[in-house]
């Protein structure tokens, strides 16, 4: 056990070292081009992270504020998606004809790249901020909806029979049987939704601009400041990881999951 842990630490260390070594070899030769060296990236990281809270005018703020803006958009869109997907999922999960009727629409809309929604959103909503939300909703909706439907359908039929034999009302069935049954899979859906949203917001912010990690990446791209982009990638990854862990923690709150 502890030998395995030591070995794991060694593997992590060696992999990281080899990766940075290769990176350095690949980039340190051609310093005129785009590719950043590890050292330049580290310098950039120190610079960016040493003052994350500055504010100078509306388009010039520290990385913290960009992060905050992205998080706020993702969480808002995600909440709206949940408010739509969960009741709809319960309806579609329990009423077969509604499920069959809406399935073709869901199946076609689901695989549409959220980025393709961007222009349409802008056209329809006439507002960049609402468009970003719209795109997040369109990406977060489907995993949550499909998982809620599946969760509701996976309810143990014996539990429903039990409910009938004790003459439980419709509302009690939903609250005491369907909801707890569907919860674990709903949480899986939440996780998928959140990670898709996080993936998409970066792209959306590249288009809608103003503030956010996506805007940050784009602004650095404008200058071809690739080391800063590498730093942003790392930050995006770490925050995405934290979000995922937060939703996974729900699994523990739901004891039977």
């Amino acid at each position: 056990m502890s030998r395995d842990r030591a070995l794991a630490a060694l593997i992590l260390f060696v992999t990281t070292a080899v990766f940075i070594g290769l990176w350095n070899m690949a980039t340190s030769g051609n310093d005129g081009g785009l590719a950043p060296t590890p050292a330049a990236t580290l310098r950039s990281a120190i610079e960016i992270l040493s003052d994350p809270f500055y504010r100078e005018g509306i388009n010039s703020v520290g990385v913290f504020w960009h992060l905050l803006a992205s998080l706020q958009r993702v969480l808002t869109g995600f909440l709206v998606a949940a408010v739509i997907a969960i009741p709809l999922g319960f309806l579609l999960g329990s009423v077969r004809s509604a499920r069959w009727g809406l399935d073709p629409i869901i199946q076609i809309l689901r695989p549409v790249s959220p980025l393709a929604w961007l222009p349409l959103g802008l056209a329809l909503l006439r507002d960049a901020e609402r468009t970003a939300l719209f795109v997040i909703i369109m990406s977060a909706l489907w995993p949550l909806l499909l998982n809620t439907i599946e969760g509701v359908r996976s309810v143990n039929p014996l539990h429903l029979q039990l409910a009938r034999t004790v003459e439980a009302g419709r509302w009690r069935v939903i609250r005491s049987i369907l909801l707890p049954s569907a919860l674990p899979q709903m949480i899986t859906g939440l996780r998928l939704s959140l990670s898709t949203s996080w993936l998409v917001i970066i792209a959306a912010e590249m288009l809608v601009g103003g503030r956010g990690m996506g805007y940050f990446v784009w602004n650095m791209w404008n200058k071809l400041d690739i080391p800063a982009i590498c730093v942003a990638i790392l930050i995006i990854g770490l925050v995405g990881l934290a979000l995922d862990r937060a939703v996974s923690a729900l699994h523990k709150v739901v004891p039977h999951a």
Binding site: L34, N59, A123, A128, N219, N222, L224
Partner: protein
Amino acid sequence: GTGGTAPPAAPAVEPGTHGEDVHALPGIENPELTIGFIPITCASPLVNAAPLGIYAKHGLRVTLKKYAGWADLWGAYVAGEVQATHMLAPMPLALHHGFASGRKATRMPLITNVNGQAITLANRHRDTVRGPEDMRGFVLGIPFDFSLHNLLLRHYLSTGGLDPDLDVDLRILRPADMVANLLTGNIDGFLGPDPFNQLAVARGAGYLFTLTRDLWDGHPCCCLGVSDEWALENPVTYRALTRAVADAAVWSDDPAHRPQAAASMATEQFLNQEPALLTSILAGTYPDGTGRTMQEPDRIGFRPFPREDFGMWILTQLQRWGLTDDRDLGNSAALYAATTEVFDTPAAARALNDLGIDIPSARTETITGIPFDPARTDIWTRREVTS
């Protein structure tokens, strides 16, 4: 190119003296204003007016909002996110007359800069490309369909006997994407705005093949566009804005102000570029990527007047290349009418007058050596233009 002849109609103003005694107009309806811009050097008047306090001097409280590409800005403007914005000179015409999705009644009180573009080619073409005829098969970046860049490049290629729709691939790229695409060999070159031409040189991605100044000296580039509705509802604000931007343009045009213009634009919230890069462009002393250092004070100029000839030429070219949504714009008189619907020359004249600056006098535009006669627009709408 070496220094060309100075345009005959440059406003004769002593640096720093114009508009000193001009004060904010009384009765500004709504001093809070958001203006969109694209982070390129052409934006100097619109952008620098903020850090220099020119907007404030004219009684406006302006928020500048940065956009990544012209389509994004078009969408935001049509959606009503911004009422007044940086535009490419053909955009107000296209928006007003509805040549693409999103028609919006628009007026354009000021062309904010002239020249300021270049054809940048990948280094591998250094020894082989002499003129447009050598660009057959190229993939060339342009920033937008409704851009002088597009129209000028198409015309230029046609002078080499190329059909720009068939013999090259004109690819729309956001200005910021141009250099990376050149670096990765994705395109052969681009006709783009600065600082990206000079950034391509700085990154070793390409060289300056020609400045657009050498194709058409004094060509219009960017402008200020506002929605008709807004201008009508806020006439005083509109007048103040026009005056402020004209003031800033004249300020920007002064060679003595250019280093300061470069520095104040370079910050993260505006262009987010190295100040030295911007200075070399604005001051007109720069390496061209082939080892030479060039002196070209007219590389970009900020001469704020919407001349009708500009609009008419633009409309001929939109017609010529099928960018009018299949509409026939008609003869010279119709083009003139279509232009003056949008080009708010009186507003420009009043603003310059307020600032004590002379209105530029008329002149004949010469494009790739061909003079533009506004009475004979028909020759400019044919695929092959011969003088």
